[in-house]
Each structure stands twice: as structure tokens, then as C-alpha cells.
Amino acid sequence: MGISAISRLGLYIVVAAMAMSSAATNENVGAPATTLRIASLNLCTDTLLLQYADPEQIASVTWLSSDPNLSPFAAYARTFHRNQGRAEGILRRPIDLVLTGPTTSTATRAMLKRMEIATLHLDDANSIDALSRNIRRLTQAIGQTTRGDESLQLMYNTLAKLARGSKETAKDQWPYAAFIQPNGLTVGQGSLSDELLHYAGFRNAATLLGLRTYQRFPLESLLRVRPDLLIVQTQHRRYPSLAQELLRHPALVGTALRHEIQPSALMCATTSIADVAVALATTRQRLGRL
């Protein structure tokens, strides 16, 4: 206990000294830094940073972003410094802004505050409006508003077109779809995925049972409700898990059409959720023809 307190104190001193020395060199040079150096401590802020920032603006992203199952920019993310989501990993680097998310520990956020490092905190987006707010805040903070506005415009155009297409059928005629994630977890009302289903012209089967997001869709209920479509994550099954085994239960096989989504596509919301909705709408048209 005592030793760890002392070593932590030591760390603070070292860190503080480094911060001071870097500040001093900056002053000596006298030239204002033209590019903002940004580090991200959260997978979802990583994803947005990788999408909107110039490469020279990115100082560090989390190690999670290198996993193609988690991030759509995995290969690109590997070209940057990787941190473990804690302040310690980035303090040695010249950083102007740190992005934090809901998984960033309070201790880490408090430390950044004590060290007077500028931070931008973005919560996970659970609606399309929340996503666009996040994107606006981020692109403003990093000076990439044009890029942000363009991509948002594109997303809203695509979604509006989809909504027009799905409105051709009365809402109570829409087929039912259920998100079944590993462990049988589903997605309920008030979530981004639920919103996407509506744009694509599906009713969410989970709401029939009043299931909330991250609640389990019991296998028996799933067989009774019999949704027209099961939306599952593409399984990169080199190594198995019980959680994913569930989706291959013989009772489920052949009960409904399956629509696969790359796990990285919905892990963190980006403007490419519009593409997810487009793919779902295409599947709905296939359902209509069956």
C-alpha cells in the first residue's frame, strides 16, 4: 500500500516534470503548433477520430482499434501509437487534446483534469441525433467541420431516401426483425439499432415482449414470436465461445432468414450506419419476394 502510494507520487513528479519541460520547449520555440495533436482513450472516440482527423493530428488510439472485429479502421489504426485506455500511456507524448468516452475510468479523467490537459468527453450515441451531435462536437474541436458536415449530410440523405421507400408499405404491414447478438442479447426501444430497423422498414420483434437493449431474447420466446428476420453478427469463428454457439442452436436453424452484419459496423456508431440500414432494406425487399 505504502510502496504503491510512493511510486504513484513518483510517477506524478516525473509526469509533471515532463509536462513542464515540454511546455518550456514549446515556449522556447515560440512558434504556435499548427496541428493539434489528439489522443483518444476509448474505442468509439477512436473510430470517430480515425474517420475525421488528418493522420498527422492523431497522436494515439486505443489498442482495441487494431482489432478488425471491433473497428472498421483497424488496418489504418495500426499505423498510430496505441494506448491501453489509461492516461499513463499518452502522457509522454505531446498531446493537445484527449478524447474520453464512457468506458474511460473516473480516475483517468480526474488525472487528466489535475494535469490540466484539455479533454473532450463523448458518450455513446444511442440515437441518430446523438450521433450527429457527437460528430459535430468532435469535428468542431479538431477543426474538421467541413468533413463532418459533409458526411452527416450524406448520411441524412441516405436515411431520408430509405424512409420514403419503407413508407410505401403501411407500418403495421412491416415484417418483424430481431437483433440477436452473442449470448442471445437483443436490442430494444430507444437504441440506435432500433431506429435503423425503422428506417429499413422493419418492426422490432423485441418490443413485442417489451425487451430492453442488452436483455436476453429467450430462445423459447424467439420461437414463439417467429420474426421474419434474424439480424446476427458475422462470426469470425476461428476460436469458439458459448456466447456465439447459441446462434447455432438446432431449434433456431431455418426458422427465419438471417441477415449478417459485420461486428465492427455497429460496435461504435459512425455515419456508415446508413449503409447498415440500406443493407437491411435490401434484405426486406428479398423477404417480400419470398
Binding site: E220, S221, Y239, P240, L242, A243, A251
Partner: protein, 330 residues
């Protein structure tokens, strides 16, 4: 209270079968109709699928695994001559879980499904042999329990290591299944994989049953009665490993069944080890069927694990037994 053995067995078998039938037709929530009525009233595909693909495997596994655990508990207590020897307590189930996780998370079981129960059996066998070497020759109760603690600790740590080393991000969270056990969403495949192996285990243990009666009189007496001790021990060790290993591989560790059941029935079986084996099998099946009905009736956001119920019943019982044994020793 004196009950004839035939009567006792009949009573246990009736309980077991009633619970089996109840578990098959119990609705999964209050809103749903009884499955049986649905099956009878209209030829509903959904009801049939639920019955055949979900209820039959779940309920049959509860029966077979419960019987296996009861049987294995009674057999181990006879083999090690120790009333506290129970597959879960002394680490046999934990080792079985380690073997099964190795087979499953390495991907071996995806290529060859039989590797799953075989992995469990290998783990269980290793632990039983180790325990028999340490505590076989009339070791005190403490020695066996300490060996059990050590085996449980090693197996538990290695299981966690296997799960954490798996590149699959979901694996690490699955330790709760392996340590607490569940029958939720098991399929016919699990029943086909593990069922026959457990039945072979039953056969081995029951073949050794007559000899255990002689063995309980002491090894010398047993030899004079023409019993092949080595042969009997091998049958019991093999049978226990098959029962526990194959069971744990498909349900995870479900503790204390093999402790509670033989103890409640021992006096009723007139302390006859052969009778106790049969009665414990029926009793273990009844207990696990009842526990599985309980986890489905208790309202919780995620279904309770089976091992939670059996531990809540069994662990206080275990403490009580330790008190009793201390009194005896003094």
C-alpha cells in the same frame, strides 16, 4: 422410520418421473399456455419445436446429469471411505471443467464434437486418480479436503487462464457458466454427446456395487470373500470420471448434489453401499430436476445458474456435516 428398500426406490423413482414430466411441460412464463395443452389442442409446429429441441434435451440432461452426480458422490464416498468426498468439493468437477474448456476453446470440439466430453472425462480422471493416490489409503478427512482445495484452486485458475487466453472476446466472461453450471438452451447434440458416456459410467459403477458391499467390511474381509479389490477400484474410478466428466462438459460444474443426496439416503438404505448407489442416482436426478425447475421459476433478469441453487442447499449441509464429524472425532 423404517422403510423397505424397494419402497424407498419406488418413492424416489416416482418423484423423479413426476419432476421430469413437470419440467417438460412447465410454461416458460406466466403469459404462456401450458405446453402440453398446446401440443394436444392443435398441431402447432412451434410447440413441437420447443418441446423436441429445447425441453427434451434440457430435462433429459437434468435427469441424467443429476443421477450421475448422485451416483458419483456415493461411489467416491465409498471408494475413499470419506463421507465428505463429493466430485465438486474435492475438485473432480473443477478438473473436468478444465478439460472441457481446453477442448472447447482451443477449437478442437468444433472439429470433433466428441472431444468436449472426452476432455471433461480426461480432466475428471486425472483428479480422481490424484485424489486416490493422496487419500486412498485411509487418509483423514482433513487430508482429502485439503487435497480438494488444492485441486480446485489449480483447476479454477487454469480454467480462467484458458478462457482469458482465448482470442474470442466473449470467452473470458464465460467462467460463470463453467463454475456455476446451467442447463439453459442445451440442444439434442449435447444429449447425444454426453448421455451415452454417462450411461457407461453408471454401468461401471453399478457393476462394482456388489463388491462395495463387501469392501465396506474392510479390505481383508473383502479379499477373503473373493472380491478383486483392484478391479473394483478401477471400475469405480473409471465410472466416476465418465459420469462427472461427461456431465460437466455439457452443463458446467454443479456442486454438492453428490454430497446432499447420499447423506439424506444413507440411513434409509440401512447403510448398504450397494443400495445407496441406486437410491442416490434417483435422488440426484430428482434434486437436479427440482433445482432446474426452480431456476426457471425465480424471476431474474438473466436466468439463475443451477450451481447457485445447489450450493445454497448444499453448502450449509456441508458445514453441518463437518460439525457432526467433529463431534464424532472428539
Amino acid at each position: 422410520m423404517k422403510v423397505g428398500f424397494t419402497k424407498l426406490l419406488l418413492l424416489l423413482a416416482t418423484t423423479m418421473l413426476s419432476l421430469f414430466c413437470l419440467s417438460l411441460i412447465l410454461p416458460s412464463s406466466f403469459a404462456e399456455p401450458f405446453l402440453l395443452l398446446e401440443l394436444l389442442s392443435k398441431d402447432s409446429d412451434i410447440a413441437r419445436t420447443i418441446f423436441l429441441e429445447l425441453r427434451i434435451p434440457r430435462t433429459s440432461l437434468a435427469l441424467i446429469v443429476g443421477a450421475s452426480l448422485g451416483l458419483a458422490g456415493a461411489a467416491m464416498q465409498g471408494l475413499l471411505r470419506n463421507p465428505l468426498a463429493e466430485p465438486g468439493v474435492v475438485g473432480v468437477s473443477g478438473s473436468a471443467a478444465l478439460g472441457a474448456t481446453l477442448a472447447f476453446y482451443s477449437g478442437l470440439a468444433s472439429i470433433m464434437p466428441l472431444a468436449l466430453p472426452l476432455g471433461g472425462i480426461a480432466g475428471a480422471l486425472l483428479a480422481v486418480i490424484l485424489l486416490f493416490t493422496i487419500a486412498g489409503k485411509r487418509a483423514g478427512i482433513a487430508t482429502l479436503l485439503l487435497a480438494g482445495i488444492a485441486i480446485n484452486a489449480i483447476a479454477g485458475a487454469l480454467t480462467a487462464l484458458v478462457l482469458n487466453l482465448s482470442p474470442n472476446p466473449f470467452a473470458a466472461m464465460e467462467i460463470i457458466f463453467w463454475q456455476m453450471g446451467s442447463l439453459a438452451d442445451r440442444s439434442l447434440l449435447h444429449l447425444q454427446l454426453a448421455g451415452p458416456l454417462m450411461l457407461i459410467g453408471w454401468a461401471l459403477i453399478l457393476l462394482a456395487a456388489p463388491a462395495t458391499r463387501a469392501l465396506s467390511l474392510g479390505e481383508a474381509t473383502a479379499v477373503s470373500l473373493g472380491i478383486n479389490i483392484r478391479n473394483t477400484q478401477v471400475k469405480i474410478i473409471g465410472g466416476t470420471a465418465l459420469c462427472v466428466g461427461a456431465g460437466v462438459a455439457v452443463t458446467g460444474v454443479i456442486g454438492f448434489v453428490g454430497l446432499v443426496v447420499p447423506h439424506l439416503l444413507r440411513k434409509l438404505c440401512n447403510n448398504d453401499p450397494a443400495q445407496l448407489l441406486l437410491a442416490s442416482a434417483a435422488g440426484g436426478a430428482s434434486l437436479l430436476l427440482a433445482a432446474d425447475i426452480a431456476v426457471r421459476c425465480i424471476p431474474a433478469s438473466a436466468e439463475l445458474k443451477l450451481g447457485v441453487i445447489t450450493a445454497l442447499l448444499g453448502a450449509p449441509f456441508f458445514l453441518y456435516l463437518i460439525f457432526q464429524l467433529r463431534k464424532l472425532e472428539q
